[in-house]
């Protein structure tokens, strides 16, 4: 097929853009952002064309330099990869459009670097999604990880240290993955995913294979911040600049989940997943409880990310079609929700000058549209229909019921109540404790009740994403039947 190089094109456009963004930025300072957005939209176009082709004529494969696997590196664009590519490039494009005005205010001198790194991050993430080779996956993993370390380091005065901790833990995660890969490679002699899936049943139950799978899952767990391994995430998200958090938080950890899904599909869902389900269930509850005790808005959202990764991992490791659909739908929903929440948080920090939850009084009067978008995302997080979050949780609960795992059903339901608690604190402070003139500390700060919204491009992208949350909720039946159901592997 002449057009089968489409899967390669998606990460390649980003790699090329990472090179040209600094060049354009050095000639005209303002040019770096439009170029990054254009590259992201071009890649989104490729992803959409690929999505359409995958669902009409089946999986696309591209052999790098014409070498057939298992000798050469293969790029596979199957339904799951197509869904992820559209999600990554779509959310990425909207966040990059959003980041224009706020980057001028928060990271003025570092804009060119920011957009170049954002391109490298997206190149790594989309590369991980389309590759069909386990070592190539490691290389893309490290490209995206190194870009995100640098992106996190652009932030307030605490950012370099939190980025350093992220770097050390992220590198250990990658080393665990590589060590596990060494075990699998030594037993099967191949690095191609399809080839390895064929070889592993022949050598299954050997201790080397089991050790390899456990190490790889441990590495993926570190990268996706699964509960006991999450310590790097809250600091990294809290101290990074608003545009960097809005870019990394929705899509960064999801791709590590994708890596775990791929490895589990290759290895045929080994028995270890039962243990991971329990870890994920504990993570859901623990992440929610930790989120309740936070006073900083961004930090609270970061802990809620930890809890939501728990939902997704639980859905994947329950290993039945309903739970898997729930997990993929929740990846989609959570990316949209977290993008809206962090984009709104960026705007709030920009206009209110604080992220302390107890200082948010008067928010609905000052920024009514942002608050509306924020509320839609909150409803989706808690799981109120017709937002998307409700339907992904329903699928997860049905999946857990099908597996007769009543403890996990209880965990999801309890965490919904906990979700309500920590988001209600924000609503409580912002709506029901209105700003009064008699508050001397606030008066000194010179704050007014005047309406002061985010700039139009930031507002528009936030609203598009929050509309997408509702659309995903309303059309979830079509979405599942047309797309996600066809990405479900055989269990």
């Amino acid at each position: 097929m002449s057009d089968s190089n489409l899967p390669l094109l998606i990460p390649f456009i980003f790699l090329l853009a990472a090179l040209f963004v600094p060049l354009a930025g050095s000639i005209r300072r303002w040019a770096s952002q439009p170029l990054a957005v254009i590259a992201c939209l071009a890649s989104l176009g490729c992803s959409l064309a690929g999505l359409q082709r995958v669902f009409t004529s089946g999986t696309m494969r591209h052999y790098l330099a014409g070498w057939q696997p298992p000798i050469g590196i293969e790029f596979v664009f199957d339904p799951l990869a197509a869904i992820f590519c559209v999600l990554l490039t779509g959310v990425g494009a909207l966040v990059l459009i959003y980041s224009g005005p706020i980057a001028v205010q928060e990271i003025m001198g570092k804009r060119i670097g920011f957009y170049s790194l954002a391109m490298l991050l997206l190149a790594g993430l989309t590369g991980m999604v389309v590759t069909g080779d386990l070592f190539n996956l490691y290389v893309f993993l490290e490209i995206s990880a190194l870009a995100s370390y640098a992106l996190v380091a652009i932030g307030d005065h605490r950012a370099p240290l939190s980025s350093f901790r992220y770097l050390t833990l992220g590198t250990v995660g990658a080393c665990f993955y590589l060590m596990g890969l060494a075990f699998l490679f030594m037993t099967t002699g191949t690095l191609n995913m399809g080839e390895m899936a064929r070889m592993l049943p022949l050598v299954n139950q050997q201790p080397q294979v089991v050790i390899g799978i456990v190490l790889i899952l441990l590495g993926a767990g570190l990268k996706m911040a699964l509960f006991p391994l999450h310590t790097w995430l809250p600091d990294a998200y809290t101290n990074a600049s608003s545009p960097a958090t809005a870019l990394i938080a929705p899509i960064g950890t999801k791709v590590a989940v994708y890596m775990m899904i791929r490895v589990l599909i290759i290895t045929g869902f080994p028995p270890i997943i039962a243990a991971i389900s329990w870890v994920a269930a504990i993570g859901i509850i623990a992440g929610s409880i930790l989120a309740i005790s936070q006073t900083n808005l961004k930090r609270m959202l970061a802990y809620s990310s930890v809890a939501n990764i728990g939902y997704i991992v639980l859905g994947v490791t329950l290993a039945n079609p309903l739970a898997f659909i729930g997990a993929v739908l929740h990846i989609l929903n959570h990316a949209l929700m977290k993008a809206v929440l962090f984009m709104a948080a960026g705007g709030i920090f920009n206009k209110m000058g604080t992220l302390d939850i107890s200082q948010l009084r008067g928010l609905p009067k000052k920024m009514p549209i942002t608050t509306a978008a924020f509320l839609i995302a909150v409803f989706s997080m808690v799981g109120i229909p017709p937002t998307g979050g409700f339907f992904s949780k329903i699928y997860l609960i049905f999946g857990a019921i099908e597996a007769s795992a009543w403890v996990f059903v209880a965990a999801i339901l309890i965490s919904t109540i906990l979700n309500f608690f920590y988001f209600f604190r924000v609503i409580d402070f912002s709506f029901f404790k209105p700003y009064t003139k008699s508050d001397p500390a606030r008066e000194q700060a010179g704050e007014t009740m005047k309406m002061d919204e985010m700039s139009p491009s930031m507002l528009l992208t936030t609203l598009i994403l929050s509309a997408a949350i509702v659309v995903v909720g309303v059309y979830n039946g079509e979405l599942v039947d047309q797309f996600i159901a066809r990405a479900v592997p055989g269990f």
Partner: protein, 124 residues
């Protein structure tokens, strides 16, 4: 297979797993950021050597065609794939080191110390 045979047969791998564990210890327990970087480097090196050891064969030569040996017996040549893979992994390791040193320089410029508990105290 007795325990002794196992230790003898897999001595190189066991040693590298021990090195991996030493690196992890350094990263977690040491309080100086430079020592943490050292630990990280040790972990990376152990994984790289793990791959290299897996390619080793007794009595084999480099994987370049030798007319005297011919092509009939592949046991006479080493497996070149792990070496080339690790070339990439070394590049990744070097870049990670570069980024981590850049971060350490930024931290030191601002706080004049690299002792982690002191840094956490200063950042409150």
């Amino acid at each position: 297979m007795t325990a002794f045979e196992f230790l003898q047969g897999y001595s190189a791998y066991i040693l590298l797993v021990v090195v991996f564990a030493i690196g992890l210890y350094g990263m977690m327990m040491k309080q100086n950021l430079i020592k943490k970087i050292m630990g990280m480097s040790i972990v990376q090196s152990s994984v790289i050597l793990f791959f290299i050891v897996s390619a080793y064969k007794e009595g084999a030569t480099v994987s370049v065609l030798d007319p005297a040996l011919g092509l009939e017996n592949p046991d006479l040549y080493l497996n070149p794939l792990p070496h080339t893979l690790m070339l990439t992994a070394i590049v990744v390791a070097v870049v990670t080191l570069g980024v981590s040193f850049a971060l350490v320089i930024m931290i030191h410029k601002r706080y004049k110390t690299l002792h982690e508990p002191t840094l956490l105290e200063l950042m409150k």
